[in-house]
Each structure stands twice: as structure tokens, then as C-alpha cells.
Symmetry: C2
Subunit: 194 residues, 2 copies
DNA sequence: AGGCGAACTGACTGCTGGGTCGGATCGGAA
DNA sequence: TTCCGATCCGACCCAGCAGTCAGTTCGCCT
């Protein structure tokens, strides 16, 4: 009764613990008992809320993926010019990586029964993201000053480049704060036609 | 005696089998027995050549990583202007992903005792790659027409962007052949100052 | 107080799979 | 042909852990 845990909150509690444990050890090395301990409950209780380790893992990743996707959509929806929006996307990605850095790499984890089920969902999110950026670029093209590059390639290049600049910051050394703006600027000049 | 396997060749044989099995199932799902079967030998024999599953895995990944790194250095060393070299890097990455697509994601796999030991080596390779590209860019800057962007950010942006354009081709749909050149062009214009 | 169901628990079970090892097989030297 | 070391093999051993379940505690109602 000392920890947070009023009835339905227990599920959240377990998910949060799972996030921490899975993030540090990965799926296979994580023991359900560790997650239970981290959540301050008994192992059996985990199975009152989730039918299996795999299901718990799935639930956790989907939750995170969805929060990322909806956050991104919100950022893109905010008013502003192209540069402002691209910066917003970058910031959103940066914040996400800061919070879920270790978990993010799990989206690229090895295949297997666990991830098979995730693939469709994650692919869907990725497609949507690319499409949203494409739409931004198409709008920019319509507004004039943009040379006629393939928006699909440009969108993927931009997103991949962002990851290339931001992700290493977590595993290598911290990316300087101005790296984000630089990236956007290089990209913008890259597609500019003025 | 039907398969290839003359003495020292057996180690290569096992490594090749390991590559195939690990690529399809990932580290944890792969059973040593499967690898042995795939290599056409008994499970015990695997342990004549490798002390453990983990060591076999490590050996395999390091081999691939090194072949990637040395191939890249060779490509960069070839004479040609900046555009030609960047294209070469892209082609090299594309070919590598085509051959080792599934394994490539393993470099980003979950943490744990297995990968800990790899981290330094892979980080080293990544740093070298970034530095080599930085050097190319610095040379381009010296040669004149290039605005003064941070070469570190630009290099990471370029490499990440390449991966963003090429990797999805494997998991999503095939990247069109011209995507590579487009990527390089966008990037080049992005850093151009003429 | 007392009774009841819901929530919780961790000792226990069964299985999976890494690593071992005694014995089989091979191939070349004498 | 015989012998011997090197190589190969897979049945066996056992540690680790997901999932179960019989028993306990909790908290609410009467």
C-alpha cells in the first residue's frame, strides 16, 4: 500500500516497470519476476493483468509507438512555415529518443514471434510519417520555390538524416543543440530552387 | 563428405550457416543445433571450433562488420570528385544491405552481454566512417564552393539519410534505383555555396 | 464481528536449449 | 593390416525461467 496502485492503476504500474526493465535488458534477458519486483508486486499478479510476457511486451511497445505517432501528428498540425514544421518534427524525434532511447532501438530488434506481430503496426506508423512529411514538401512545392525532387525520396532522406544526427547523440556523444537546426537548413537548401 | 568441408574450411562452413540462421531468427531464437544442422554437421562439432554460442555470434558479426568497413575504405579511396565518392558510399551501403539486410538490423539489437562486447568495435567503425566522410567534405570545402556547415553534422545527416532511403527498401518496398542519385543530389545542393 | 469474493502471492512444475563427454569414425603412418 | 590421434557426434545433464495454482491477505458489506 505504500506504492501507487489503486486498482486499475496497477496495469499502468506494471507497464511502467516493464518499460524500465525491457529498456535496460531487452526482451529475452528480462525476467517477468524482475518486472514484478520493479513494480513492487508479486510475479503472479502480472498474470492477472497480462496473459503472457509476450503480450505485456507487445502492449508496452504499442503504447509507446502510438504516443509517438499521435504526438508527431500534433506537431505537424501546428501552424507555421515549412522550416518551422521540419524543426518541430526534429524536436519531437529528439525528445522521444531522449525519453525512450533504449526502447527505440527495439523497433529494429531481431525478428521472431514477438516482433512479427508488431511489424505491421510499426510499418503503418512509418508509412504515415513519411506521407505526412511528403505532404508538407508537396505543399512547399506548390507554394513555389522548390525544385522538383521526388518527395518520397526527400522525405525518407530527411527523416533518416535526422535519426542519423540525433540517434548517435545517445550512443556516441551528445549531439550539439544546434545540430537540429543545421540539419534542417542543409535539407532545406538541398530542395530549394530559388 | 558430400558438402564442402576440408579441415579448416569447416569453420567458414559453420560461420556461413550461423549467418543464415541468425539472420532469419535472431540470436535468442537460434538454436545451436539448427546451425549445426544447417552446416551439415553435429552439434558437438560446433564446439570444436567455437567455445560458445555467444562467441560464434560475435565472430560472425565482427567478420561482417570488418568486411563492410574495409570495403567502404576502398570505395572512398577510389579517385573521383565528391559526388562520385558519395555515390560510391551509397552504392556500397546499398549492396551491403542487399546482402546482409537482416543482419544489419542486429547491429542495433537489444543490449545485453552479447552486444556489450560488440559495442566498442561497432562504435569504432561508425566513428571512422563518419570521419572519412567528414574528411571528404572538408576537402570539398577547401576546394571552394561549399558553404561552411559543420562537417560532423553534415556527414551524419548524409549517412543517416542514406540509410533512411535505402533501408526501407528492404522492409517496406524496393527503393527505386534512382533514389540513390537523388539523395546525393539533394545533399550536395544542401551544402553547396555557389 | 464475521463472512465473502476479489486481489495478490511465491513455491513449484515442466520444458527448452546450451554445453559436455564417452564413444564412434576417419585417415594416415608404420 | 594394425594402430593411434584427430575429428566428429548426439544422448545426456542441468540451469534458467515462463506460467500455474493452492493458499493468504485485503477490504467491503451486513
Amino acid at each position: 500500500m505504500e506504492a501507487t496502485g489503486t486498482q486499475a492503476g496497477k496495469e499502468k504500474q506494471i507497464l511502467a516497470a516493464a518499460r524500465r526493465i525491457f529498456a535496460t535488458t531487452g526482451y529475452y534477458q528480462a525476467r517477468v519476476e524482475d518486472i514484478a519486483r520493479e513494480a513492487g508486486i508479486g510475479k503472479g499478479t502480472v498474470y492477472e493483468y497480462f496473459t503472457s510476457k509476450e503480450e505485456l511486451y507487445l502492449q508496452m511497445l504499442l503504447e509507446i509507438a502510438d504516443s509517438y505517432a499521435s504526438g508527431l501528428a500534433e506537431v505537424i498540425g501546428r501552424p507555421g512555415d515549412l522550416r518551422e514544421k521540419l524543426l518541430g518534427i526534429g524536436r519531437h524525434l529528439r525528445d522521444f529518443l531522449q525519453e525512450h532511447g533504449q526502447l527505440a532501438r527495439m523497433f529494429l530488434q531481431d525478428p521472431g514471434p514477438v516482433n512479427r506481430k508488431l511489424q505491421d503496426h510499426l510499418l503503418q506508423i512509418r508509412r504515415e510519417t513519411v506521407q505526412q512529411v511528403e505532404k508538407l514538401l508537396a505543399a512547399g512545392a506548390a507554394a513555389g520555390h522548390m525544385r522538383p525532387v521526388d518527395t518520397g525520396v526527400a522525405a525518407r532522406f530527411f527523416l533518416g538524416g535526422l535519426a542519423g544526427v540525433l540517434l548517435p547523440g545517445l550512443i556516441e556523444e551528445l549531439a550539439p543543440p544546434e545540430a537540429l537546426a543545421m540539419t534542417v537548413d542543409i535539407f532545406l537548401q538541398g530542395i530549394d530552387s530559388s
